[in-house]
């Protein structure tokens, strides 16, 4: 037996699915689209019933991937029964989908979810009356409390065993005659689900008319004779209107309003504050700050400012301050993994290639990826709480205007914000974006936001340079990297909007669901889901990449094990390709190739950049563990300040070269974990390679510009100022023009032509 679970977004579908299947769910993607596919088993009725969770949809129109997937599933896979879950607190709109699903010849049962909440609000629904009125069995349940779920499944099983004929609700008004005739055409051809097909044909649904061109011809002849009044021949509108009229008529008798005062609900009250005209944005910023504070701060609630220095130093918990839960978890995992590495390393002979493979390659590589898990999980926990409670929809509501200019909607805000912490959960969270093009644009600019792993690079360089060059301020350098990331992301989004990931700004017609308290069990299941995926990736793709990189950096071309990675295959290749990076400045000079290798290892994981530089300089300690002020006088500090060979034509180019190096690290492929996440979300090799190419190209071009602009600024500061002002002016004009759709069209046409030509020639 196979039951399909269908319903509107926010109807409690996921909760019911979890209640039915426990944690047995299997998650995958529907072929061809990034729409999540979940299935699991319900075993409490003796018979093993597979539950397929269809994506949350409002309709069975041919416009969104979710709707097409759902529709193809019910038509082609023919489940034994459809469980249509509806939100009782929003019954009118939810029943709209019910009337569409009920047109199928597939047995169906309606689960009236959250009926307890609607009763509290004063609306009592008579399930039996509703069943009669709508010609479909309805059962009241509470997915949250798990009540009546067994009864629902028993009824569903009964339904599944009885044959069913589709129920039409639009054989009325203007459509009365045409419905009968078109229905006859389908019946003559012996097509399954004739009611569904007939209605779709009358709507002029593109998927339907393509499939049955003969019937389409006759149908449009019939349509011409019909007067649709205000709809002016728009049959899609006529059908939608008839559906709602039918619901209005048949829903009233089953509803009993109690005498309770119909005042403001709790949700309305919460909304009054949370989306307030003045307080909405400050409250939102405060919530965001709290989320990041609890995940990344090493000074929880700023207690550290009130405690004298040196008063306590407790491992894991914090030094002179309390760590946030995220950091505490991070420290625990770090402590466990480093103990394992130490224990394993101690038990194996020193200096052999296999010790190196296990300790330096496999363990350190996989552990460096695993070390992100605590903070990713904490971030995801908060995100899920915000999502479950209904606040996330309000965030989209508040932020939409600011994001629209860049071809994104308000919904893209949260995923992108998370990228400041880590690009991996940020990219995974783009799944909440409905529009495929928007999702792709968001993923492409996600790595530009400076993540936590990049901070040590900024801290090391900024710290060292600020000590050597008295005019530099370390905080300002770090801040400028964050700023450059944001600016490049904005420009990148605009360029993508105009070119590759084309498409107009996605529509923003979105339900603002009622607020409710998030459910612990659901949160945990959600987190477990994410964790499983991440660990799976860490164990496969990342571990594989790490071993390959370890091999390339530990052996030379004679297959001999080398200690100095400069002699290794990777080192030799990097030296060979150093000329590619010479225009960027940081690859100039005798040490240039070392920075190139560091940047390349940074593509695996950004934590490796500083460590790699440390190894090259002959530093014995781990550079990541050191303060910038201690690094200055070490060989590493000397190497860092000598970046770019130090002098070019009598000009000190170290500072421009440093900025160029940091920009390259900021904008290039962030890490293998992020690539794995992007590959999961983009779901297409071609799109993934486009994204990677976009990141590398952006990194190269921006670094190139930054370096030469820096050199110009060192030689002739006023010339650089003029150039800078001109560039800012040009960019601002472009942004203004493109958001006003003035320059969009010509570029668009030109690219279309280019694409057509390339298709022809191939």
């Amino acid at each position: 037996m196979r039951f399909a679970l269908a319903g509107n977004p926010n109807s409690g579908k996921t909760t019911l699915f979890n209640a039915l299947t426990g944690s047995t769910a299997h998650v995958g993607n529907w072929p061809g689209v990034t729409v999540e596919k979940k299935s699991g088993y319900y075993k409490k009725l003796g018979e093993k019933i597979e539950i397929i969770d269809l994506p949350g949809i409002y309709s069975l129109s041919p416009y969104t991937p979710e709707e097409i997937v759902s529709r193809n599933y019910v038509l082609e896979e023919k489940p034994d029964c459809i469980i249509n879950i509806v939100d009782s607190t929003n019954l009118l709109r939810n029943l709209y989908l019910t009337t569409q699903l009920n047109e199928l010849d597939i047995p169906m049962i309606v689960a009236l979810n959250m009926s307890d909440v609607s009763e509290k609000n004063g609306d009592f629904i008579d399930a039996e009356k509703l069943s009669e009125e709508l010609n479909v069995k309805a059962v009241k349940i509470s997915a949250l409390k798990g009540s009546n779920i067994k009864e629902l499944m028993e009824e569903a099983l009964k339904c599944a065993k009885e044959p069913k004929k589709g129920v039409c609700v639009v054989n009325d008004g203007a459509l009365k005659g045409i419905y009968k005739e078109v229905y006859g055409l389908y019946e003559k051809e012996n097509i399954e689900n004739p009611v569904f097909h007939t209605v779709k044909m009358i709507e002029g649904d593109s998927l339907e008319t393509e499939k049955f061109p003969d019937i389409e011809k006759k149908c449009s002849e019939l349509k011409e004779k019909i007067d649709t009044g205000d709809f002016e021949g728009d049959f899609e509108g006529v059908v939608a209107d008839l559906r709602y009229k039918y619901i209005d008529k048949h829903y009233e008798p089953s509803l009993k309003k109690s005498n309770k005062m119909q005042g403001m609900t709790k949700s309305d009250k919460a909304d009054k504050v949370l989306t307030h005209k003045i307080w909405g944005i400050p409250i939102f910023l405060l919530i965001m700050f709290a989320v990041f504070h609890l995940t990344f701060s090493e000074n929880l609630l700023f207690i550290g400012y009130f405690i004298p220095e040196g008063s306590f130093d407790i491992p894991i918990l914090g030094t002179d301050a309390i760590n946030s839960p995220g950091v505490i978890l991070f420290n625990i995992v770090d402590w466990i993994t480093s103990s394992i590495t130490e224990a394993v390393g101690g038990a194996m002979p020193e200096g052999t290639w296999y010790t190196s493979l296990i300790c330096d390659g496999l363990l350190s590589g996989v552990f460096s990826v695993l070390s992100f898990i605590p903070q990713i999980l904490v971030l995801f926990l908060f995100l899920s709480i915000l999502e479950d409670s209904g606040y996330m929809a309000r965030v989209a509501f508040i932020m939409d205007r600011a994001f629209r200019k860049f071809g994104l909607s308000g919904k893209a805000f949260m995923p992108l914000l998370m990228c400041f912490g880590c690009a991996v959960p940020g990219i995974m969270a783009t799944r909440t974006l409905e529009n495929e093009g928007e999702r792709k644009r968001a993923i492409c600019i996600a790595p530009f936001f400076s993540c936590g792993a990049k901070l040590p690079i900024w801290a090391a360089f900024a710290g060292v340079f600020a000590q050597v060059y008295s005019g530099l301020n370390a905080e300002l350098i770090v801040f400028s990297m964050y700023l450059i990331g944001i600016v490049v992301a904005i420009i990148g989004a605009l360029i993508l909007k105009l070119t590759a990931a084309k498409g107009e700004t996605p529509p923003f017609i979105m339900e603002l669901p009622n607020y409710h308290a998030p459910q612990f069990k659901n949160l945990m299941l959600h987190l477990w889901d994410k964790l499983k995926h991440y660990i799976y990736r860490a164990a496969t793709i990342i571990a594989g990449a790490v071993v390959i990189i370890w091999f390339l950096s530990s052996f030379n071309f004679e297959w001999q094990f080398v200690e100095d990675s400069g002699q290794s295959i990777l080192g030799s290749i990097a030296k060979l390709f150093t000329w590619v990076f010479v225009p960027l400045g940081f690859a100039m000079g005798d040490d240039g190739w070392k920075f190139v290798v560091a940047a390349i290892t940074g593509l695996i994981a950004k934590e490796m950049v500083v460590s790699t530089l440390g190894v090259f300089s002959g530093l014995e300690e781990d550079a990541l563990e050191m303060e910038a002020s201690d690094i200055v006088s070490t060989p590493l500090g000397i190497m860092m300040t000598g970046i770019g060979g130090g002098v070019l034509g009598g000009v000190d180019i170290a500072i421009p070269a440093m900025f160029s190096f940091m920009c390259f690290n900021l904008l290039s492929v962030p890490c293998m974990a992020a690539v794995a996440a992007a590959s999961g979300e983009l779901n297409s090799k071609k799109k993934l390679w486009t994204a990677i190419a976009f990141w590398m190209l952006t990194a190269y071009l921006v670094s190139l510009f930054v370096f030469w602009f820096g050199v110009l600024a060192t030689v002739l500061w006023w010339a650089a100022l003029i150039v800078g002002l001109v560039i800012v002016a040009v960019v601002v004009t472009l942004v203004v023009l493109s958001t006003k759709h003035i320059i969009k069209m010509p570029k668009f046409e030109f690219l279309k032509k280019l694409k057509k030509n390339s298709k022809k020639s191939s």
Partner: protein, 77 residues
Amino acid sequence: MLVKLNEFIPEQSGVVKKIQAEGKIRRRLFDMGITPGAVIVMRKTAPLGDPIEVNLRGYELSLRKSEAECVVMEVEK
């Protein structure tokens, strides 16, 4: 009096007369319940001035002003 939905002020309500959009957006408006005859109450505009929040068929819906512009309304009060 016929007014477009984007011109509504908070607490104003009206009945949908006509949808002047095409394709995907038109269908989306229908699917969310904005059909001729539906009663819509304007709730508020977002802090940045756009989108807007409206109430219809017992639930809250948010849409951009550019999308609300497609909805022609008969003002009630």
